[in-house]
């Protein structure tokens, strides 16, 4: 039983926004909606780091907890999806989400937001896999085709990884160990380090 997760390696992310573009392109997402975004901390300063963020498919998702119409569900792969036929566009999930993943096509006066849209882990929605309805509402269902999310597949530095949590864990572990071998690369400590990289 797989448990699908994203992992973004802050040491590798170069803020190229290719993941954002790939995602928008793959799912034909309208302007204003960004299922994925890259956040840069300390931009232009020492210790600058970037992270690519989207829905993290939490095990105990706050969005699902707070949804007044209970439109979220978790797939057998551990992916948190939602049913746009049920969503009423109230915006609660956006308040509750730690990562700011839920997006709305509009945010007009009198709370006209439209149906919530968020990262599906390229797994579509409740409709039949890659049916035209599913594609219109949620974008492509790559998982059903045996493919991983495009954002991770596209990532040129392999900073963004997507897949089974156990596999990602082992990759990450290996990276940490390798990085530890070089004192200069112990990046996160640049701030306190006497040696200016």
């Amino acid at each position: 039983m797989a448990r699908m997760k994203f992992y973004c390696d802050a040491e590798r992310c170069v803020e190229c926004n290719a993941c954002v573009t790939a995602c928008k392109n793959e799912h034909d997402i309208p302007w204003g909606v960004n299922r994925r975004r890259v956040v840069t901390i300390k931009d232009g300063e020492q210790g600058e780091r970037s992270l690519s963020v989207a829905c993290m498919h939490c095990s105990d998702a706050p969005c699902a907890m707070v949804c007044p119409v209970d439109c979220f569900y978790t797939t057998s792969d551990g992916i948190v999806l939602h049913d746009k036929d049920i969503c009423i566009g109230c915006g609660y999930c956006f308040y509750a989400c730690p990562f700011g993943a839920p997006q709305f096509p509009e945010s007009a006066a009198f709370s006209s937001r439209g149906k919530m849209d968020k990262c599906t882990f390229c797994a579509g929605g409740p409709e039949d896999d890659n049916s035209s309805q599913e594609t219109t509402k949620y974008g492509r269902n790559r998982l059903a085709e045996g493919k991983l999310p495009l954002c991770a597949e596209m990532c040129s530095t392999k900073a963004l990884l997507a897949g089974d949590a156990d596999v990602l864990s082992s990759i990450y572990r290996k990276r940490v160990i390798n990085r530890g071998a070089s004192a200069f690369n112990w990046g996160v400590n640049f701030n306190n380090s006497k040696i200016q990289g």
Binding site: R37, M65, V66, P68, T74, S76, G78, C87
Partner: protein, 362 residues
Amino acid sequence: MLDSFRSSILYDVLKLTSTLLLVFMLTAPATAGPGPPKRPDFPQGVSTTNPGNDLWREVRQRDLPVTGTSQVKGVDSGVLINVEGDRWARFRIDNPVRHAPTLLVAVVLVLLAFYVLRGKVGIEGGLSGRMVFRFTDYERSLHWCLAIVFLFLAITGLILLLGRTLMIPLFGHHLFSLIASASKEGHNLFGPIFLVSLLLMLVSFARRNIYEKGDLTWLLKGGGIVGKGHVSGGFFNMGEKSWYWLVILVGLAISISGLILVFPNFGQGRVIMMVSNVVHVFGAIVLIAVSIGHMYLGSIGTEGSSEGMKSGYVDINWAEAHHDRWAKTCHENDEILSAEEFARLQGNPIDSGDATTGAAND
């Protein structure tokens, strides 16, 4: 007077509840209960570690600034971790969603018990039939407008708050979603009408609701419910004034927080939204609970009190029982109408039989 006794009981109940809720709120992250039941797709008990955990833990624990920048423009798009979101979500589930139904049912039960035990509070000597003018057409229209809009907002609001627990099991997800969408759109549309009515209410009634000297006595005597006999009151008595200011102040709080929630286009952040939501829900539940008491007293609770908001005239005996100081000025100004005169002003004179019922029936 009974009115505000009720409201004072409710006050206590509400104070207690709100204190409890505050305690819950502060301890919510620690005592957070389990989330809503998951759909059975995902096997429970399978525990895997998210490789990202370490990273996010680091981001949160290190003294890095939480706000960064992003090429993506949007509300809070530079915020990496929204720390309050989960707390708010749990608070919402654990407090208003869990306890509001209990509170509202309790209020209804208390009133029912009171009605059974004490019955309708009458007036010594009964109603005289002689009437005195109290509220203009405009004032009554405004009151009922506020009442209708309030009821609509209360019902749609409660659907959005409690529907998931109470209605989805009955209607299923799709039908409930339909109801919830309608409720949401209606709620957002009628909210500003509530605010406008409230402000007009403030303008029309504020002067008569300023607390006066005798009001403290009224409060000390418990609105006449504890001891025997009615307590002195002016045009509005202490209980009515308290209800009025509760409506105005809590109503304004609800309205302002509602406006913050309903205009996402101004780009206020999530924290402001969540605080507004808490204020909104709390204020609403308080107001709904107390309004049930108000409705009880205005209808079956007290003899003769509904007439003032229907015809605009009240029985002089009712006025003397509940608003003796005002009734005195009415006597002084010779404003009391006979039953015949009152009937004539209502367009159904007592003497001229059947035909005057007029147009209403065809």
